[in-house]
């Protein structure tokens, strides 16, 4: 297992919501990894969202904000996993909670594994 370069050194990290990785077998389970971020909506976006709230429809500003935040949380999770020498994360779950008016926590967790 040590004679080949670990995949985690590169950016290649397989993420799935399954319990395994199709086409690979899990060699080792390395435990739960998680990433989270708390983001505040900014005033400008809040103002636009307030206006948009009159007519309804998608709030693009918030969608983008949360997407960015979720990407960041995922990246933190991937960093944690690669520190442990994992090259895949399985059974990923997302969770969101709004802490207060104006701030939201994005949370993602999964199990770091080593696959062949």
């Amino acid at each position: 297992m040590n004679d080949r370069p670990t995949l985690s050194r590169s950016n290649r990290m397989l993420l799935t919501t399954l319990e395994g990785v199709p086409g690979h077998t899990i060699v080792q389970h390395l435990g739960l990894v998680q990433g989270s971020t708390v983001r505040a909506k900014n005033v400008g976006r809040d103002f636009v969202a307030g206006l948009k709230n009159l007519v309804g429809g998608e709030l693009k500003g918030y969608t983008e904000l949360l997407q960015e935040a979720r990407t960041e949380a995922t990246q933190r999770m991937m960093q944690e996993a690669s520190k442990q020498g994992a090259n895949a994360i399985v059974n990923i779950r997302f969770a969101t909670s709004s802490l207060t008016q104006g701030a939201a926590e994005l949370f993602v967790y999964g199990t770091a594994v080593q696959i062949d």
Binding site: T17, P22, V55, G56, T96
Partner: protein, 146 residues
């Protein structure tokens, strides 16, 4: 009197603009759902092995949808009397379809044959403030397999 006038204007704007946006969105959803119909979404897969798959990737689709002034007003009345708040039912349904479509479209671009173990998650954006925006975030995520 003046505040009443503003209130009626907002209700009217909310009603007409809101239903126009909703109608357009529903037509768009219908159209896109038809175009992406070849990609099956499957809820199982966590414990069931998928033998024919050899590549997998995570796909996430998310959307924040908000209510309009008219809906918010009607809902506050419905809240008083109880029962089904139909105006919000259509709102979350639109959001959920949109989120699933975004995930599907991403998966199709990557070349997925199906998306397995799909999960849907809903989060309220408005917080506890009753005067804040009424919006809900819906995300759909799953594993695309080839």
């Amino acid at each position: 009197m003046e505040t009443l006038g503003i209130f009626f204007i907002l209700i009217l704007v909310g009603f007409f603009a809101g239903s126009h946006i909703e109608k357009k969105h529903l037509a768009d959803l219908h159209d896109r759902e038809y175009r992406t119909r070849q990609l099956p979404l499957i809820n199982i897969g966590a414990k069931t092995p998928i033998p024919e798959a050899d590549r997998a990737k995570l796909f996430v689709g998310s959307v924040v949808v908000s209510s309009d002034y008219f809906k918010t007003f009607v809902a506050s009345w419905m809240n008083f009397f109880g029962g089904r708040i139909t105006v919000y039912e259509t709102l979350v349904e639109r959001g959920r379809r949109e989120a699933m479509l975004r995930m599907k479209e991403d998966a199709i671009k990557w070349g997925a044959r199906q998306v397995v173990n799909v999960r849907l998650e809903t989060a309220e954006m408005g917080g506890q403030n009753p005067n804040g925006v009424v919006a809900v975030e819906i995300i759909a995520y799953g594993t695309g397999v080839q």
